[in-house]
Symmetry: C2
Subunit: 124 residues, 2 copies
DNA sequence: GCTTGACTTAGAGCACGCTCTAGCCCCTAG
DNA sequence: CTAGGGGCTAGAGCGTGCTCTAAGTCAAGC
């Protein structure tokens, strides 16, 4: 696969993929005869996982750290586990908080719908 | 209340509160004799709501829009409802997606814990 | 053999959302 | 009456994470 196809399938832009390689989120690519990057399917699964880490709010430097640990092999498994655990716990709290926010919004929207104004009625 | 107390109670910095006023997220403050901003308790509830909107991912320009609509009175209620509804729906999807991510992380962490390595065993 | 289009690099530029600095003023306590 | 701890303004600066540009190379089809 050339980089354009990876971009299309992963949802990351070509620019972003090269940037990710430069900062160490993607391993140094194999090159074809003409010097172009050549990928196999594994990269798509890795990018999907990276995009989850990004989406849950892990900053790029910790994604880079995780990527680096991964390349260093089995001896870093415990460190990787701890890193993921930290973000997992933060995420669990975040999901709870966002669920509360969903309720707050629903209440607000309902107050707009039913009274025509949230300021009339028994206070708010 | 002076700005320092609002900062302490709301969790936003003094700098940020002045910035929020400048861009229209907070209404123009009343001033005391010496030209200092003077707030009443309402601002804390508004800041708490703003911080929820921020937390769910509403960009600052839409928070400013919402704040502006609010100052324009009841005629903007329908517009405000639509704005909140849009972000509410996106948030609902996001909560689902983050919940999936939580499962993915738990599975990954479990694989680290039980096998000592995620690469051994029946293929990952 | 030439055009087209996807690829290459290094490095500049950008949007967002603050965050901080400089130089000033004002109020209160000792 | 002075020191200290707020507060004030305008505007510069910054961290994050891309995003884009310029100038060039390469491979395949007509």
């Amino acid at each position: 696969m050339m980089i354009g196809e990876v971009a299309e399938k992963s949802g990351f832009s070509v620019h972003t993929l090269r940037y990710y390689e430069k900062i160490g989120l993607l391993p140094t690519s194999h090159r074809d005869g003409g010097g172009r990057r050549s990928y196999d399917d594994d990269v798509l699964r890795w990018l999907e996982f990276l995009s989850r880490l990004k989406d849950l709010g892990m900053p790029i430097r910790d994604r880079v750290l995780y990527a680096r640990l991964r390349t260093e092999g089995d001896s870093t498994i415990e460190a990787r586990r701890r890193l993921l655990q930290t973000y997992r716990d933060a995420l669990a709290k975040r999901v709870i908080s966002l669920t509360e926010t969903l309720d707050v919004l629903d209440a607000k929207i309902a107050s707009y719908d039913t009274t025509g104004t949230p300021l009339k009625g028994p206070r708010k």
